[in-house]
C-alpha cells in the first residue's frame, strides 16, 4: 500500500512540477509585458503633455482646446529649467529628486526618461522664443499604483485555480494508470514454481499493458515447458540409469546366495558386463548431449560435402547392421557441386545423420529408408523418409525431450537421446530440423543446413 501511494504521489509530482514551472514562467512573462507596455504608453502621454505645457508656459500661446492634446494628468508636476550659465544641475537634482545623468541626457539627446518608485519623469529640451529650456513632466505611475496589484492578484488566482484542477487530474490519472500495473504485479507475485500453470488475465484490448500481460504469459509458457522438461529429464535419466544397475545388483545378489559352478559364474559375469556396457553407453550419450548443448565449446568447422558424408553414413550403418536398407536418392542433386558444401564438423554431422537414418531403419523394421538431397541457392536439404511406425500426433512436441520415448516404441530398444542430440548438432550448424509423421504410416525428417559461402569468415 505504501509503495503504491509512493508511486502515485510521484506521478502527481511529475505532472505537477512541469506544469507549475510553465504556468509560472507564463505569469511572469505576462506581468512584465503588460507593465512594459503601459509604461511605454505612459511615457508617450507624458511627452505630449510636456510639449503642451511648454508651449503654454514658455511661448505663452494658449492653444485652442485640441481634442487630441492630453488633459492634465493626475498628480502632474511640471518643471521648467532654462539652459543658460546659471544652470546648477546639483541644485535641481536635490530639488526634483532625479539623478544628474538625466539632465545630461536631456541636454544632449533632447529627451530622457526616468522611473522612480511612485513617479515617472519625462524630460525634453524645448526651444522657445526666449531660449532653450529643460521641460520635465512628472506624473504618478498610474499602472504601478492602480493596476499592478490587480494583475498580480489575478495571475496568482489563476495559478491557484489551475493548480487545483491539475492536482485533481493528476490524481485521477495516477490512480487509473497504475491500477492495471499493480494488478499485474499482484498476479505475477502469485505465480511461483509451484503453480506455473497460472496466467495473467488479458483482455482483447490492444494497448501496451495488454501486450505486457501477453508477453508475460508467453514467457510463462516457455518457463513452464522448460520446467517440465527438466523435471522429466531428471526422472527419466535416473530411471534409465537405474535399470541396468538394478539388473547388475539383482544378478549379483542371486549368485552370491550360495556357491555356484564356474559356468554359472561366467554367465553371471557376462550378464553383468552386458548391463554395465549399457550403462556406459547411456552415460556416454548423456555426456555427448551435454557437450553439444553447451555453447561455450568451440567445435572445428570445415567444408563438408553432404553427398559424400551421406555415402559414408550409409556404408557405416550397413556394416554395423547388415539388415539396414538405405536408398540414397540423388534425383534432385544439384548439378553444381559447390551447392552441396556446408560449413560444419564432419564427426558431428555424421553422428546426427546416422542417428536419424538408423532410427528410420529401426522403427520401420528394416524396411527401405529413402534419403534425398537437394539444394537451393542458400540451403542444402536432406530428407529422410521411412515407412515405419511413425509418431503419435499428440506426442510429436515431446520428441526433443531427452529420454522421451513415444508410447508406440515399447518393442524397440533405445534411450531417447538420439533426437535431442541431433537437434543440438543441427542447431550448432545453424540449420533446422523438421519432423513430420503420421502414426503407422511413416516419418519424414527434413534437415536444412545453410550452404557454405566463400566470403564467409
Amino acid at each position: 500500500m505504501i509503495t503504491t501511494l509512493k508511486k502515485q504521489s510521484r506521478t502527481v509530482l511529475l505532472l505537477l512540477i512541469p506544469f507549475l514551472i510553465v504556468i509560472f514562467l507564463f505569469s511572469i512573462f505576462i506581468y512584465f509585458s503588460v507593465s512594459n507596455y503601459s509604461e511605454k504608453n505612459f511615457f508617450k502621454l507624458l511627452e505630449a503633455r510636456a510639449y503642451k505645457v511648454a508651449k503654454e508656459r514658455l511661448d505663452e500661446k494658449i492653444t485652442k482646446s485640441d481634442p487630441n492634446s492630453p488633459e492634465k494628468l493626475p498628480h502632474e508636476k511640471d518643471f521648467f529649467i532654462p539652459i543658460d550659465n546659471t544652470l546648477d544641475i546639483k541644485e535641481q537634482v536635490q530639488k526634483i529628486g532625479i539623478p544628474a545623468s538625466f539632465f545630461e541626457l536631456v541636454i544632449n539627446n533632447k529627451s530622457a526618461e526616468f522611473v522612480s518608485k511612485k513617479y515617472l519623469y519625462k524630460g525634453i529640451r524645448y526651444q522657445s522664443t526666449s531660449g532653450d529650456y529643460i521641460v520635465i513632466t512628472a506624473a504618478e505611475n498610474y499602472f504601478q499604483i492602480n493596476q499592478a496589484d490587480n494583475l498580480i492578484r489575478t495571475l496568482l488566482f489563476a495559478i491557484l485555480a489551475s493548480l487545483i484542477l491539475i492536482l485533481y487530474i493528476a490524481l485521477y490519472f495516477s490512480k487509473n494508470i497504475f491500477k492495471p500495473i499493480s494488478e499485474i504485479t499482484e498476479q505475477v507475485k502469485e505465480i511461483s514454481s509451484e503453480n506455473l500453470h497460472l496466467r495473467l488475465n488479458d483482455s482483447n484490448r490492444s494497448d501496451e499493458l495488454n501486450d505486457l500481460a501477453r508477453t508475460f504469459n508467453n514467457m510463462l509458457d516457455r518457463i513452464e515447458t522448460s520446467f517440465e522438461t527438466q523435471n522429466n529429464f531428471i526422472s527419466n535419466a535416473s530411471h534409465e540409469l537405474r535399470t541396468p544397475l538394478t539388473a547388475i545388483i539383482g544378478v549379483a545378489d542371486v549368485v552370491l546366495t550360495k556357491p555356484r559352478t564356474n559356468e554359472e559364474y561366467v554367465e553371471t559375469l557376462k550378464i553383468i558386463l552386458q548391463e554395465a556396457d549399457k550403462l556406459d553407453n547411456k552415460t556416454k550419450a548423456l555426456l555427448f548431449l551435454a557437450q553439444t548443448g553447451f555453447n561455450g565449446k568451440v567445435q572445428k568447422f570445415d567444408k563438408v560435402r553432404i553427398d559424400q558424408l551421406l555415402w559414408d553414413v550409409k556404408e557405416n550403418l550397413e556394416s554395423l547392421n547388415p539388415k539396414s536398407k538405405i536408398y540414397l536418392d540423388m534425383d534432385l542433386l544439384p548439378e553444381n557441386p559447390m551447392k552441396l558444401k556446408v560449413n560444419g564438423n564432419t564427426q558431428l554431422l555424421h553422428l546426427a545423420l546416422s542417428n536419424i537414418i538408423s532410427n528410420g531403419c529401426k522403427y520401420s523394421n528394416f524396411e527401405m529408408v529413402t534419403v534425398s538431397i537437394g539444394a537451393s541457392d542458400d540451403f542444402v536439404y536432406i530428407v529422410i523418409k521411412d515407412n515405419g511406425i511413425g509418431i503419435p500426433e499428440n506426442e510429436i512436441k515431446y520428441i526433443y525431450d531427452p529420454f522421451f520415448r513415444a508410447t508406440n516404441t515399447k518393442n524397440f530398444e533405445g534411450y531417447g537421446i538420439g533426437l535431442p542430440l541431433t537437434r543440438n548438432i543441427i542447431r550448432m550448424h545453424k540449420g533446422t530440423l523438421l519432423v513430420t509423421s503420421i502414426e503407422n504410416k511413416g516419418t519424414t525428417v527434413q534437415i536444412t543446413l545453410p550452404i557454405w559461402q566463400i566470403n564467409k569468415d
Binding site: D329, P334, K385, G390, G442, Q446
Partner: protein
Amino acid sequence: MKKTILIPTDFTIQSLNILKTFLNQNPNNHYNIVLVHGLNIGDSIRDLLFFSKNKQIQELANEAFIEAFEVIKNKFDSQINSLKIDFFTGSNQAAFNNFIEGYQINQIINSNYQLTFSTRKSFDFTRYFNKAKVEITTIEITNHVNIPEKGNLAEVFFNQISVG
C-alpha cells in the same frame, strides 16, 4: 533449338512435380519454362494501376514452394535456360492464344493433376489448351494423399514415378 514450354501451376509443390517429371523424362533438351497461374485481376483501375507481379507471387507462393522451386532449378541447371512465373489474366480463347504467341510457346505440358486454388481470384485456364495451336503433352503423376510431408518442401523429393 531451345523450346519454350508452358506449365500450369497452382503454387503447390505437387504442381512443381509436373515440371520435375517432365524434365526427368526429357534429359537432353534446353528449355525456357514459364509456370503460368490463371489470375483474375478484376476491372478496377486502382487495382490494375498498383498490380505488381512480384507482390502477387509472394502473396500466393509459400516458402516451401519457393524453396522447392529453387531446388528444382539447381537440379536441372543445364536443362533450364530460363524459368519464370507469370500470370494469365485473360478470360477467353483469343486472350490465351495471344498469351501463347507473346511468349512464343512451343509446347504445353498438361497433367492428370487437378489444380487446387487457395484464393477466389485464381481460375483454371486448362480449358483453353485444346483449342490452342501448339503441341500438348500430358504427363501422368502419381498423387499420394496423406503423406507425412504434405505441404512441406520434402514433398518435392518424393511423390514421383522414379522412386524405387
